[in-house]
Symmetry: C3
Subunit: 468 residues, 3 copies
């Protein structure tokens, strides 16, 4: 018995399915390159057991929590802490049962496929989750978690991960990465520089963050020159912990290329309380160009993740903080927005920028045409709500004809949920196999090319795009 | 011989087709829930025979008239009255022949499938409409219409309609609904409160409408307090005639949450002639939030139908009035637009808002992410131009992965054309069967789940979403 | 051996594939109508041999050059001249080898299908292009080009082209069209009036262009009356060279309908140096309505190609000039933008406007609803980045249900690459065959209707839309 169909995500047509299987058989054996994600380095530094099934699968997974919330389950009842410290559910089994009761809500969603994959492949579970099986599955997972072979490093090795990048902020001391590097474990876990907390004047605590940033790095980050120097020094520290990339999560893809006098005046304004929305946007915009210039010097690849309207409900943000499912995509322009940066440095040899989107209309209209001509631009894989079978297929169908395959950057799992890493890569490998098989069967690609491409899409392109 | 392929809208792949058939076989037997539409209550109150084939199939159907107009047929020649009273075609057979001559224009459109379904299933016609068959088909339909079993109530029963909601404006006395309720017929026909005529300051005759609204309800609707009281009283009257929902057709989805002083000042401004476009938009926006607050009290479900740029050609509007095919969709934002309402009342238990769109780009980018977290939001089915096989399939493919199935609201036929009701539900049931079958065959859903879901999508979700 | 799969672009399902083949077999025999494109009339006037493979396939093809540039190949190394006259690669074989080295980049793109088609069907090549075959294929093409049967007129006849329209600007003397008309060759090559250079105040040299335009036509184009008269006279000259259409490539679809006094004042302003962006946009907008009014008099069909943000990188534009791959689509509104023109003349009998888009979101939301009601509007085929198998299929799936087939305008190849003409029409014929076959197999169209439609989509609709 099995939770998963061996042929899942392969087209129904027998000939196309056969070829999909053959392509996937090759992809399945390849190690995982995970160049962008949000797992915790402390897991691999300390290698402690994951505490219980609820904390592994429910509480930290914003996909899961938002769906349950949409159907009336309170976040408190899923064990999510309130900022005011008032009590929330602390019994992991009670949380698990709530999850099981509502698991039917995930029918047809990627979450179900990820969870079922982890259940079956990581924990050997073969019966579907539901009210009747909740306790039995809880016990089976809990029993596994107590064993050494389910500790983070063992799972990392078992998942066949060749490289895993985490993401750290500008105030992070990187101590866990130091611990990993100093250990005798040979798993390759690297960091990524995500400076939003000192780049976005609307970030919570921005002015304090500047002070802490300067203190941490040993520069006066309250002057423009010191601020830039602090970034340069901190980027170098990240590089020492393996970083090959930076990451920038902005509300829009706006860039700017101001004069030195303009940018100094702007920096003075954003260091005042009550910064205007226009100045905040302009500063973020300018900083993308500044970061691109630093990349020309130190070779770090830039990732731009724009377009999320974060914390859509102020009350939920005040009660629970960020990343609780209330981030909603919005329309995102790239053509005008990226132009100042591209005019300034877009043709510089060695610059590499990986673009992501939450606005699928941009794939064929903007992103593929841009990546199909600017040497510095590569298209990242479908992101967040679009990290799904349909989302991946739409990306290939909308982007390939204009950008080709070789202006794309392979797959990212982008996950906070460690056990979902192999599940997500499996989905991407299956969808790419299905897409390539369809191209072959409809006479748009030769079979030999498809076998080369499945290797590139699964493995080589990610290594090349991220300079790994 | 048959007009329709028994396997229409099922995928070509044999295995997927077989499963589609099996799912559809279950859906086909279920009664019709029609919670939103524009049929006339007078039909069911008076139960008179429909006058002739042209008035049943051509003159009132804006899909049909706009397509014929686009190819050079004048609306006058289809029997559509001019506001100036100048003569138009009055011979229904002549109108019918024009329809038949141009029926090839509907190839590949939903109209052809709806008309052919009605021809075959309601009137027993088995030859395609065209110039040679026009008269024969006209005669066959006319003959039927003269029989008692083709009167509205008999067709309602024959169509297996469990519930039908009509839509009435704020100046409607609901007399036909009273007649239906008082009759010995047990068909369930309910009304829906659509207050646009007294909510939209740009509606024709808005100021007069306010006076008439107050007089009808017995409140002074020219004061803010009296205006709100009038809505509350009229909503209660609608509820007495079975209403479980309100409906709001606005140019945008903009909402607002003004202070009491601001809204009183705004109400004073919109009661002046020559209201500005900004004030009109702001008043509509505020009224959505006011209506949501009333829903918290009386439990009526809100429907928001935004995004139609109505009466695109002023000359046609002046000559023929509204709803003649010159309403064109436009880009519609939901994320920023709905935020004021959602901040104000979006987490209130018991609030239910069903969202529709004419901008398909919003499905995956905005609507599914919003409905996938806010408990009050449900996604309505594809609307108007998208009430079609391709439109329905795109909706499922774009919305399901993020919103799931259980944040959607089942099917609406939304029709003015009574005979098209079973035809439209049939299309929805077939497309949903095909979509679910494909999920099963591609390993994304278990077969048992698909059989549960086809029942939910066809029947249960509509009843639950509309509180029927 | 063969470069191309005989069944390419047909669906995998055997029954659908069989019907696609049968439909395509009929389409393949039809002559090519090419009512919009950018081939050079001098080719057919002088009928000289094409110089070498690189100048035929690489240097003039912006699709090819932009893809190679995106992966680090300099335009100079593809033989593209710099405006400053500094030396570029002049060895066509070296250019060809660079193309061959990078030909794998085109996997999955329309360029590969077009090039492979031309290789096989025009030059008899049956081995894929790559580093090892570059020289052999170069030699084989070069050998062909030296033969009389590979001269432009011979290829035109061999390609079974019934009519080919080129596109000329307002400063063109049309001498090559005169030569073609005066020759004894019976190939039908006509021109198209594209007045952008004297309509867009932001066009390079606009003020000089006005002077030259007036001088060429014999009117004082620096006065509003003389300017309009110049257009009217030049349109008549184009009509004498067979033109049945005008073409308008604007950044947006904005139209305007100013009063006489307003437009005269505007014309005065745009004739000053340093015109504002707003005035430039307004003048282009007004000129679309002026051109529509002229079309009412002379019967020329209008084509509107909006939405390209041209010359995205100023440095590349300064170095190499326009049309080098740096034109990027952007969001394009039609509903509000076209309204002034449509209000003014949109219901006039005899007006015909063919709309194109680079924003695929407009198909179902704006263009199909507009073309489905306004008699003057027809939808042009997928354009530029969307002239591809996926792009064509999306167009049919998104537009047909609302606009039907008969509000579309057949296929355009829109190419600068002569040998790609049959390749591009072949793709369109195959995709339309596949689309129609799928409609039949899924019960949405009768088989006899599909055979009528494939003829219409391939041949009749283009002739009718362009009044050929």
């Amino acid at each position: 018995m099995s939770l998963l169909d061996d042929d899942r995500l392969f087209p129904a047509d027998p000939r196309t399915r056969d070829l999909s299987r053959a392509l996937y058989a090759q992809a399945r054996e390849l190690p995982i390159i995970s160049p962008h994600g949000h797992t915790q380095p402390v897991w691999f530094a300390q290698n402690e057991a994951f505490p219980n099934p609820a904390e592994l699968f429910v509480t930290p997974d914003h996909y899961v929590c938002r769906m349950l919330f949409s159907q009336g389950v309170r976040l408190e009842d899923l064990g999510i802490n309130r900022l005011d410290g008032s009590p929330v559910e602390s019994d992991p089994r009670a949380i698990w049962r709530r999850f099981a009761d509502h698991y039917y809500l995930f029918r047809g969603t990627p979450s179900q496929m990820w969870v079922d994959y982890s259940f079956e492949h990581v924990f050997g579970i073969t019966t579907p989750l539901g009210p009747e099986t909740a306790d039995q599955i809880y016990d089976q997972i809990a029993e596994c978690l107590a064993k050494p072979e389910f500790r983070p490093r063992a799972l990392f090795d078992r998942f066949n991960i060749e490289l895993l990048a985490t993401t750290e902020g500008p105030l992070d001391t990187l101590e866990h990465h130091d611990t990993i590097q100093a250990s005798d474990w040979d798993g390759r876990v690297i960091t990524t520089y995500r400076p939003d907390a000192v780049v976005d004047p609307q970030a919570r605590g921005f002015l304090d963050n500047l002070d802490r940033f300067g203190a941490l790095v040993g520069e006066d980050a309250t002057t423009w020159d010191g601020y830039l120097a602090a970034h340069r020094k901190h980027r170098a520290e990240f590089k020492k912990r393996g970083a090959t990339a930076t990451d920038h999560g902005h509300p829009s893809a706006q860039t700017a290329d101001l004069s030195d006098a303009e940018v100094r005046a702007l920096f003075d304004r954003v260091r005042q309380p009550g910064v205007s929305a226009e100045d905040a946007e302009l500063f973020r915009a300018q900083m993308l160009t500044e970061m691109a210039r630093m990349s020309l010097d130190d070779g770090l690849v830039m990732q731009i993740h724009p377009g999320s309207r974060r914390n859509h409900h102020a009350g939920m943000f005040d009660a629970f903080g960020p990343d609780k499912g209330f981030d909603i995509p919005g329309r995102t322009d790239y053509v005008s927005a990226l132009r100042p940066l591209l005019q300034a440095v877009g043709l510089e040899p060695g610059l590499q920028i990986i673009l992501f989107t939450l606005d699928e209309t941009s794939y064929s209209r903007e992103l593929a045409p841009l990546a199909g001509v600017y040497p510095c631009l590569k298209l990242g894989p479908p992101w967040w709500f679009f990290d799904s079978a349909e989302g991946m297929m739409r990306f290939r169908q909308l982007a390939t004809e204009t950008a080709g395959f070789y202006n794309t950057a392979g797959f990212n799992d982008d996950t906070r949920a460690f056990c979902s890493i192999p599940a997500r890569h499996d989905v991407a490998r299956r969808v790419d196999s299905a897409y390539l098989a369809d191209l072959v069967v409809t006479g748009r690609l030769r079979e030999g090319e498809a076998f080369e491409l499945i290797h590139d899409l699964t493995y080589s392109l990610a290594k090349k795009a991220y300079r790994l």
